[in-house]
Subunit: 242 residues, 3 copies
């Protein structure tokens, strides 16, 4: 299957145009949106989100990931194979965290031709055709490179920032809960947030954090909105008190 | 086919994660979103909405329905078969109205294990695998129970409240139009709303109600927004004058 | 494949209900949303948008297009074949521009029966069954008419208005870039917008226009929102200075 991970939004033509290309190039391969609202123009935040959500998908899955402030500039495109899953998208760090956490990772660099493609919609014109071929089992195009150069050593293993806010106002962080103490407290400004196992464990209106269904530390308010209550936005820093 | 009826929203990863599980467990079965924006955390309102929209689908359809303020608490899961269609979701009244209106309805109760699943995403971890098996024709898991205990006798047959507001500001009520007099008037506060057959029958700017394409009494304003004009929100009471 | 082009929004049941009808009537034919947020109630604006986005799809594609302020009124339904692609929807000008630009176009008029269908949801009850049959290769129903009467000669070949604003605040116009001078300047009120090839060519915060990936002149601000910066809304006039 092919999973779309983009900041394009579901509105407008972009997702449908990519789905049509994928259908034409890889008929019958199911295509799903994983995120269409990944952090806009923020590949670093998106890298931690993608790394948390990709591992639940089976080996052979192809992720077409586009969070790309530099479209029209001269950055290259990347294909990554990590623990049996494939990733294609811009070479801007989006795959750094998942590649770093993988047992095995390989990287191919694809030069983006100037002529054959639109200047502004590499999702449809560059990445979708590559994703379709990977889904059909065709080996990656481009030149294989040493994966170390992809890994962004200057980025931390876990990111103490909000990487996504969902429809209910819950704020996912780039911190894996498994790396935090069982009784770790998170801090948003002056406010201290205790850990709970689930919403039902805290009184209505109480802010807390918990391990979400994909292993991230997520900040929530039982029957409320954490984003409004705590003034949180994507990219905000979170404190970790042990 | 499998129909998703949730309050998860289309944004974020939740719908895509469930689709991927359904695809893996029941390859080739089509999956569609019926509502991804059912009344959030309001199973009673959602019960009247689902009961109005499910009957147009063919026998054998499987509805995976999740409107669930109690996730992480200790409520059980339910499978319902009603007039040949299958429903799986939390046991919180969501299926009460459709089961009550069905000629034949059966109910199975599923205990939710503590270990194997995430505490917060029962849609992916509990309901989707069950829905996939039902779609493949596997009999429901769990213990069959007497359906009477599912039917919420304290809830009315029709609900005089707004159960959904759509993109155009039209407000669906929980009232079936067939149960209202041909010249029934609805009331929102002091305002009286006459019945019309369709938008084109009333002057622009006029508020009215009509039988929508699924049989519900729906409040609308021709070339306007009923929600803004009348100050309507999901859950608001509607008066019925005959 | 079947492409949906509507102003229904992705929220609510409408798209899912249409997908289910299409699946039932044409099993296995892929269905994608091209636009679910076409200009609401504005078939003239939508006509220029659809004409720009349809040609990238292969011959045999079926577009089910519904932008229809007159539902419930007495307008007819139309099937158009233009350059090998099929279109079905209301007869209100929505197909005028694409038919006018096609090398070959034919038009069939379908009377909408009063009884068999809902008064308000012709997408599900009228257009989807027709689209499904076209996708299966069944000839169009209805009477073939002389296509000239469909072409709205009073509408211009290119429209100097905003026809769509996307998630990022970019404003698509109804002007094809290929018809503008290489150094044409667009005007929004007093503001002059130069042409650029892509976002990366102008400094952050600068408003410009460029040829988008479907050939339309699109107004944008590098790392900003053109709609907010320039006060643009769908339907607004754009000046063309050569």
């Amino acid at each position: 299957m092919i999973l779309l991970f983009t900041d394009f939004g579901l509105d407008g033509p972009y997702v449908g145009q990519m789905q049509a290309v994928l259908q034409r190039e890889a008929p019958g391969v199911p295509v799903f949106n994983l995120f269409a609202d990944a952090p806009a123009h923020e590949p670093r935040l998106a890298a931690y989100l993608l790394a948390a959500y990709a591992p639940e998908f089976p080996a052979g899955s192809v992720f077409m990931a586009v969070v790309d402030p530099g479209v029209g500039g001269d950055r290259a495109a990347a294909v990554v194979e990590a623990d049996g899953r494939w990733y294609v998208g811009p070479e801007n760090g989006l795959f750094a965290i998942l590649a770093r956490r993988a047992r095995v990772a390989k990287w191919w660099q694809i030069e983006v031709g100037e002529e054959a493609v639109s200047a502004s919609f590499h999702g449809r014109d560059v990445f979708a055709p590559v994703a379709a071929r990977l889904a059909k089992g065709v080996p990656p195009p481009g030149a294989e490179r040493a994966v170390e150069a992809l890994l962004r050593p200057e980025w931390p293993d876990d990111l103490d920032r909000v990487v996504y806010i969902d429809r209910f106002g819950n704020a996912m962080t780039g911190l894996r809960a498994a790396g935090l103490d069982a009784d770790a407290t998170l801090a948003v400004g002056e406010q201290r947030l205790p850990r709970a196992r689930t919403f039902a464990e805290v009184p209505p209106g109480t802010a807390f954090w918990y391990e979400n269904a994909n292993g991230l530390a997520e900040i929530a308010v039982n029957r409320g909105r954490a984003d409004w209550s705590l003034g949180l936005a994507t990219g905000d820093s979170i404190g970790v008190l042990r």
